[in-house]
């Protein structure tokens, strides 16, 4: 097959021998490898013979394909210390698009079609970059620190509002910049992937504003405010660890044009309120 001009990846895929979603994952890997000349990493061999794929994994951006939510391929990537450049989860895509996966391990026509669609989606160049914002975010933020064992939980002392799901909002005029609290990144440990929300969509307060993922868990960002998503922090797609390094500044998630901030405020905490919640959570964590 002739190769189209597209990015070459190292593809770490679910092996998919006993589930149809896994078989679709394998088919997507084949499709992308054929179209781009990408190299496939066999997860089974990778597990026992790390050196075999060392060069491939180091020299190419890594595309991880998970069949289901067990996320074996993602977890393997984390275990091997690899940086994930792009990610596909077959069952998630199927669910969002209302596609029923076949039961059979031998792929039927619709499963093959789905594999092709997903492969092409993954190869689409990311367009629609949001323009630079002019959000007046403060340059010097003062933090308080709450220490517990080796962990230090930082919280900005002024201007930020929080919900009890550890997400923050900083409001200027009718726009809020939002993100996750330091507590989230401490809980998740090393963040490997950020799934951005869609720019232009309306979101309710407490609605899902993308996902932050580590080897340990997936955290749904719970929007502190309601309104229209006007900008997403694109940097997080390539450097999700900014959320670990700087959850209140460089690791911001999105900007939202507020639709009913007066009502939203009723359900938000200021620094004093959130700090109490944070302390309780941190203290309860360490209960043996």
């Amino acid at each position: 097959m002739s190769q189209i001009k597209s990015k070459k990846y190292a593809i770490l895929t679910c092996n998919g021998l006993d589930k149809s979603a896994g078989c679709v994952a394998r088919e997507i890997a084949l499709e992308i490898a054929e179209q781009t000349g990408s190299e496939i990493i066999c997860p089974v061999l990778y597990n026992v013979a790390y050196a075999r794929y060392k060069k491939t994994a180091e020299e190419n951006p890594l595309l991880v394909i998970d069949g289901c939510q067990t996320r074996c391929a993602s977890k393997l990537a984390v275990g091997k210390g690899l940086k994930v450049a792009k990610k596909i989860t077959v069952t998630e895509y199927a669910k969002i698009n209302g596609i029923e996966l076949c039961e059979s391990l031998r792929l039927d026509a619709s499963a093959l079609e789905l594999s092709k669609t997903l492969a092409n989606e993954a190869l689409k160049e990311e367009t629609a970059k949001a323009g630079e914002g002019t959000f007046a975010f403060p340059e010097n933020i003062e933090y308080s620190a709450y220490k517990k064992d080796k962990f230090i939980f930082k919280t900005p002392t002024e201007g930020f509002l929080f919900n009890e799901n550890d997400c923050w909002a900083y409001v200027v005029g009718n726009i809020a910049r939002v993100g996750v609290a330091d507590y989230v990144q401490h809980s998740l440990l090393d963040i490997i992937f950020f799934t951005p929300p869609t720019v232009g969509t309306e979101i309710e307060q407490f609605g899902e504003l993308g996902q932050v993922e580590s080897g340990k868990a997936i955290f749904e960002v719970v929007s502190p405010v309601s309104g229209k998503i006007i900008r997403v922090n694109d940097e997080l797609v390539n450097i999700p660890e900014l959320i670990n390094q700087s959850p209140y500044e460089k690791g911001w998630i999105a900007e939202i044009e507020l639709s009913d901030f007066e009502e939203d405020k009723e359900f938000l905490l200021d620094y004093e309120g959130y700090f109490k919640v944070l302390k309780r959570k941190v203290d309860e964590y360490h209960v043996k």
Partner: protein, 108 residues
């Protein structure tokens, strides 16, 4: 609890000023899909799930009110996708309604 289990907030008695008891939010297990892999049980630090050796599946929701309101992280560990949650927008609406009905001095 080991460091390794530290994930997502523990719940309190209230959520956004509303009593946790009035909020209907916890995982719902589809018994036909659950394969007792116990990934969710291992994951959730709030002891929402437990095991009953005499039933099929063995997994069940033991402490629904321990579940952190709007957390759905356990469902994302579930390979067979046997875990769902109540409708979120409806739950939000209900919490906001309950909150508005509270006398002002009880809302925090």
């Amino acid at each position: 609890m080991s460091d390794d289990m530290r994930i997502l907030p523990p719940t309190g008695d209230t959520f956004m000023g509303v009593s946790r008891d009035t909020i209907d939010w916890c995982p719902i297990i589809d018994n036909d899909k659950c394969n007792d892999c116990m990934e969710c049980l291992k994951f959730c630090p709030h002891k929402v799930f437990d095991v009953n050796e005499n039933s099929t599946p063995k997994l069940f929701v033991k402490n629904p009110k321990n579940c952190v309101v709007f957390c759905r992280a356990c469902s994302k560990t579930c390979g067979p996708e046997a875990i769902t949650f109540p409708n979120k927008p409806e739950t939000i609406k209900k919490i906001k309604k309950t909150r508005k009905e509270l006398p002002p001095n009880e809302s925090n």
